[in-house]
Subunit: 417 residues, 2 copies
């Protein structure tokens, strides 16, 4: 039970234990899908744009009628009308004819290009065109953006503003997305009191209820905080059974001492299901992570130390919440800030080290030319029980298990909070 796993193996075991499982699909109005994840591929039902549109103010023409036109020898075309915005053109365009058209206007049948207003001049019932137009010039063709049957969005895609835009353009007013994972958070510990209480001697206020709820929200889940439970196996079991009825995932934080961690593990083992799958991960902070399943649902035992619990969430709970929502557990290209480490940093080795840092501007001239502009990363020291290094800090970088530290001046990728 007390196997300590490398981070990546722990992640794989968690994700594998629920492989292929996603939350139920729900229909949601498109306007409320920002950040949600598509449950089905979206296929274009129609052309976008539905008809050829002008991208400039000017004159709709047949390109061939303008070939050879110049300042000194303009093509003279018969002006047969004006395309009204939001309506069909007043008619077709015949040879040597032209119509006035504004940006966004519908090209009349027979025309294939638009001469910019700067290069045409109305002279009575005629338009003098001073430059030749190429076919399709200043035109957005019908279906140039999307055609019927085109894949618009794959399943498992997290919706961004532009995705809502194309759904609007296609007239898709609602769509199937995965439900948001419901995550219940239980804080444990005889010493823990609610944030609004005045702690007596030996007591502390609960921190993890708020931080974990906020992290759940940032990960697309719906947090439910069940409050504080004593270090008592029967009480915890009762609470966990209730939590498992409503939640998709349960987080139990607390139990920094071996004895109380054992209570959490025992309670998970007591439930029907696979029980504790592993206990402990070789990382700092966050080593004492418990993962198991109760009643077929994942239960995490996170450290009572706020910083350990935060990293436990980031590394293990968040990927699972992503998988539950139909996303890849890890982003393909997570954004970061490149910085130069501003000091030698030694690491214990044998476990992944998540180093909290502050970023500040680089001082020109102190490094190679292309590196002058990189910001500097200063480690903020402090154990997992101190909030200061994560509150002061801008983010963290990772030292791998097989490294015993990094030298001053190396590039690090800082993942910002």
């Amino acid at each position: 039970m007390l196997t300590v796993l490398p981070v990546q193996e722990a992640q794989e075991r968690i994700l594998r234990s629920l492989e292929g499982f996603t939350l139920p699909e729900v229909w949601v109005p498109t306007s409320e899908t920002l950040g949600r994840v598509t449950a089905r591929p979206v296929v274009s039902p129609e052309m976008v744009p539905a008809y050829a549109r002008s991208t400039m103010d000017g004159f709709a023409v047949r390109a061939e009628d303008t070939f050879g036109a110049s300042e000194s020898l303009p093509a003279l075309l018969h002006l047969t009308g004006k395309v009204p915005m939001g309506q069909a053109p007043p008619g077709k365009l015949g040879p040597a004819e032209s119509m006035e058209i504004a940006t966004g206007g519908m090209l009349p049948e027979g025309s294939d290009s638009v001469v910019m207003v700067e290069y045409g001049e109305i002279l009575g019932g005629q338009v003098a065109v001073y430059r030749p137009a190429a076919p399709l010039e200043n035109v957005l063709s019908a279906g140039e953006d999307y055609r019927p049957g085109d894949k618009v969005l794959p399943a498992g895609h997290q919706l961004r503003p532009q995705d809502l835009g194309i759904l609007a353009a296609l007239g898709i007013a609602e769509l199937q997305v995965f439900s948001a994972p419901r995550v219940t958070i239980i804080s444990t510990g005889d010493e823990v009191v609610p944030p609004e209480a005045s702690p007596g001697p030996g007591q502390i206020r609960d921190v993890n209820g708020l931080t974990l709820s906020a992290q759940v929200r940032e990960s697309g889940g719906e947090p439910a905080y069940r409050g504080i439970v004593r270090d008592d196996a029967e009480e915890l079991k009762l609470d966990l059974v209730h939590a498992l009825e409503e939640a998709d995932v349960v987080l139990i934080s607390g139990g920094s001492s071996v004895g109380t961690r054992d209570v959490t593990a025992r309670v998970i083992d007591d439930l029907p299901g696979d029980g504790v799958m592993f206990h402990g991960v070789s990382m700092r902070p966050g080593k004492p992570l418990i993962y198991g399943a109760g009643a077929g649902k994942p239960v995490f035992g996170l450290s009572g130390n706020p910083v350990s619990a935060m990293f436990g969430f980031l590394l293990f709970v968040k990927p699972l919440l992503r998988q539950f929502q139909g996303l890849k557990p890890f982003q393909d290209y997570p954004p970061y800030v490149e910085a130069l480490l501003d000091t030698n940093y030694s690491s214990p080795g044998g476990r992944e080290d998540y180093v909290r840092v502050v970023l500040y501007p680089g001082s020109p001239g102190s490094h190679g030319a292309d590196e002058v502009d990189l910001p500097r990363a200063r480690p903020v020291y402090g154990g997992p029980g101190l909030l200061n290094p994560v509150v002061q800090g801008d983010g963290y970088f990772v030292i791998p298990r097989d490294s015993e530290g990094l030298n001053k001046g190396v590039r690090v990728k800082v993942f910002t909070w």
Copy 2:
């Protein structure tokens, strides 16, 4: 009126026009402040932790009583009790005495360090300590995280999960944050119909209502979509006057043609206030940006092209919404993904070019050793009227005004959507 400004100058003019102006402060329960911005500095009212706590399971001791202890010659201390979790220790610790203590327990007065349980052994009423403890070893001192009067958070700080955590630890149940900016969005155009309508010939569905609303939400604002207004100065003016009564910022999108843009500009000029301050920015996409003030409030005229409107929002509206909320207009260290451009890319020069790209894994061996792992960035071509390049794409990089393009293989910073 038709001065075309460089991006940075346009940004500066907008921000300067409302310098020092922030939205009203409101009291909000700490649990609901994720992503909001502190209106006042938060100063610690108390010690965190309030008392010295053990960070290990073991024995509270006076370090001096263990000096010289070893496996062969343990220090023998009198075991005087056990510290209960969540309560004061049963008494003080005298010379040559020790108490059992669990992680998180309150150190008894007189003790200054904790011997890990692995290095102590209970023998009847005594504890044999096999290793010397250093003063403060395995102890979190009172006030080590925060002391009364310490600055916890500055004003103008966007609240993250760990910030909510320290507020909980300090017993701060609510705090003053800046109001969320209310942003009203008006779509204009005789050709524009609501997303749920079936467009007739010459008509298109409104896209910008949804994309801009989503962008407002991502920027911490509260969007209100007023629907579609005809290209008519009187109608637009009426709508704008109503919008300005309730909103902090108004976005008018549409008017791709010169004529309709002029309507927007004229309406802004007609209102009491500074009128149009500039019209046009040297960038692509997004050139035809209008900025002005009506009734003392900022009004943006964004392009009707969805992609131009999106970039207009990102570059000009978002910084202002940040400033309104008390944040710096631009992030100090915006995260990005470094990638290698996978093709030569030429840029018109004379304006900033926002190049939409897709990211994909790099192929090992094709570049220098340290670059092998960088992803590749492939530009997704298409005018500002096409949504496909931003829906397919992962983000964008920027080519500065004075550059006429980039060569294949150069490093670019991709800002992901």
